[in-house]
């Protein structure tokens, strides 16, 4: 009962389960500005969807969720289009470069080892830093923090100001070099390509800590950027690999577009530090899950190739 057949995945799924899954991931997307592929793809694989189809169909779904989320955040004045476009250009350049790096790593062998270790260290580091920082903010000790790190910040600020092509980003309320979003976008693009994820997890902290954008604008701008990345991925996967299951994406979409709207509404009610600490907890949770997967012997010693 309530099952639907997925012609490309070659399996059937429970409609309500997929709808709920889409809703949950859309909710996270609306609150935190992340695509949610890190969570969705493994869950879909768990429900019997082939890895390659799970990753590609999820990209299609993210297009809908991020459109819904971007629209909601845009209404709240939370999308910095100028910044988003620059990050996107950087991301595309970085992504293309990252694909080449991964080819070299694979040729050298042990690529998976390097990728997983980088992932765990990255998630652990970013998550812990964000968690501690937002905790301090919530405890009202942000003043003490800025005093403590004041020297470092000013050096970084000086360096930012010394860069050419300084420009004003109205929505974010900052003035920085045009080169910065391009460079950081490329950096996230490289990592995203290597790790095989959308990059929202790294992009959000980069915008908060390195570009110093306000948290609410970060979420809206991140969603705007993710939208374009996933449009590209969906079309490429459908064209080259025939791995986009539109029926699956549609079921996920129904849930995620609603979830993204509710998520945005929750985001609006939360303070910047509250969003940060929740996101940090989520990042750390994913990090722990990955570590668990690395330390506990797998039930089956082989897996089908593809996916994340």
């Amino acid at each position: 009962m309530f099952h639907m057949y997925l012609p490309i995945a070659g399996n059937s799924v429970n409609i309500l389960l997929i709808f709920g899954l889409g809703g949950f991931v859309g909710l996270l997307s609306g609150i935190f500005g992340v695509g949610g592929g890190f969570l969705m793809t493994p869950l879909l694989i768990m429900f019997g969807i082939p890895p390659t189809v799970a990753a590609a169909s999820d990209s299609n779904q993210i297009v809908g969720a991020s459109t819904s989320g971007t629209l909601a955040h845009w209404r709240l004045g939370n999308v910095d289009f100028k910044m988003g476009i620059l990050l996107l250009i950087g991301g595309i350049i970085g992504g293309t470069f990252g694909v080449q790096i991964i080819k070299i790593l694979r040729a050298m062998g042990n690529a998976d080892f390097l990728i997983k270790i980088t992932y765990v260290i990255m998630l652990g580091g970013v998550g812990s830093y964000m968690f501690v920082d937002s905790l301090k903010g919530l405890r009202g000790s942000s003043e003490a923090t800025s005093k403590k790190t004041g020297g470092k910040e000013s050096t970084y600020a000086k360096m930012l100001k010394s860069l050419p092509f300084q420009t004003r980003f109205e929505k974010s309320g900052i003035e920085i070099s045009l080169l910065l979003p391009l460079i950081f976008g490329a950096f996230v693009g490289i990592l995203a390509a290597i790790m095989g994820v959308g990059g929202g997890f790294i992009m959000v902290p980069v915008m908060v800590y390195l570009l110093r954008m306000p948290m609410h604008v970060v979420v809206g701008t991140s969603l705007f950027q993710i939208l374009f990345t996933c449009v590209d991925v969906t079309i490429m996967q459908a064209y080259a690999n025939h791995t986009v299951d539109f029926v699956l994406a549609l079921l996920l979409l129904l849930g995620s577009t609603i979830g993204a709207q509710i998520g945005t509404s929750i985001n609006k009610r939360l303070k910047g530090d509250q969003i940060k600490i929740l996101l940090a907890s989520l990042v750390l949770l994913v990090c722990v899950k990955m570590l668990y997967g690395l330390l506990v012997p797998p039930e089956i010693m082989v897996a089908l190739k593809g996916g994340h």
């Binding site: 459109t67 459908a238 025939h242 539109f246 549609l250």
Partner: protein, 262 residues
Amino acid sequence: MKVSSKCIKKHFVFLVFLSLSVFLISNWAFASQENLKLELNPSHINIGTFYNGTKVIAKGKIPAGTEVVLRISGHYTELHLKKKGKIAGLLWMNIGDVTVGNVPEVFMVVCSQNMKDRIDDPELNLGYKYLEKMMTIEPEGEDKGFIFKEFVKLQEKSGTYGIFSGNVKYTGESDGLKTFEATIPVPPKMKQGEYKVEAFAVRGKEIIKSSAQELNLKQVGFPALVSKLAFGYSLIYGIGAVIIAIFAGLLMGLLFKGGGSH
């Protein structure tokens, strides 16, 4: 003269007995050859929008004193696998790629409880051992037995491989023939295409007779349309999927406009 008539009578009785025996034996053998019938119901399955797998009933007759074993297989292919192992004595991750060839995407054996432990007997060779022998592996230095065992575990978890004992019942016996009825599970993961259903009549360690039928699965309606577009018009399909997703996102955004965003 008397003796010779007695002798003729004796020979006559013997000849009648012999003829009768030959007739009965040949008739029995003929019956067993002819009557290993296998019928599948249904033999064609339509995969529609709300399809979630189904069951096929296999009916037939086997010689008395034999057991039936059914084997369902199809879509022989090559599969690329990631092999997991320990790195630095601590971390479990992918340590290499293995390609297994000449393996079916679907492999199921349906038999009675009695036959469960006998299907892999070297003389019968009806179970997984049959597959293992046929499977090719690359690189060649890999431990074939280990990879095969783990591969079977993986396929069983996905529902496309399995040994289903107890799915056979015998409903009657007449004229030296036994009627069987078996339930073949058709998991939703069985893709469209043709599959071979074989029936074997087994006595002791010998296959007395075998027969085969085709099971056909076909996508119809909406799934068929989506598949046609995805494989035949992939670029239009990809762009269409994106446009519909954007439209769904915008629509949901408009529906929620008054719902508290402002």
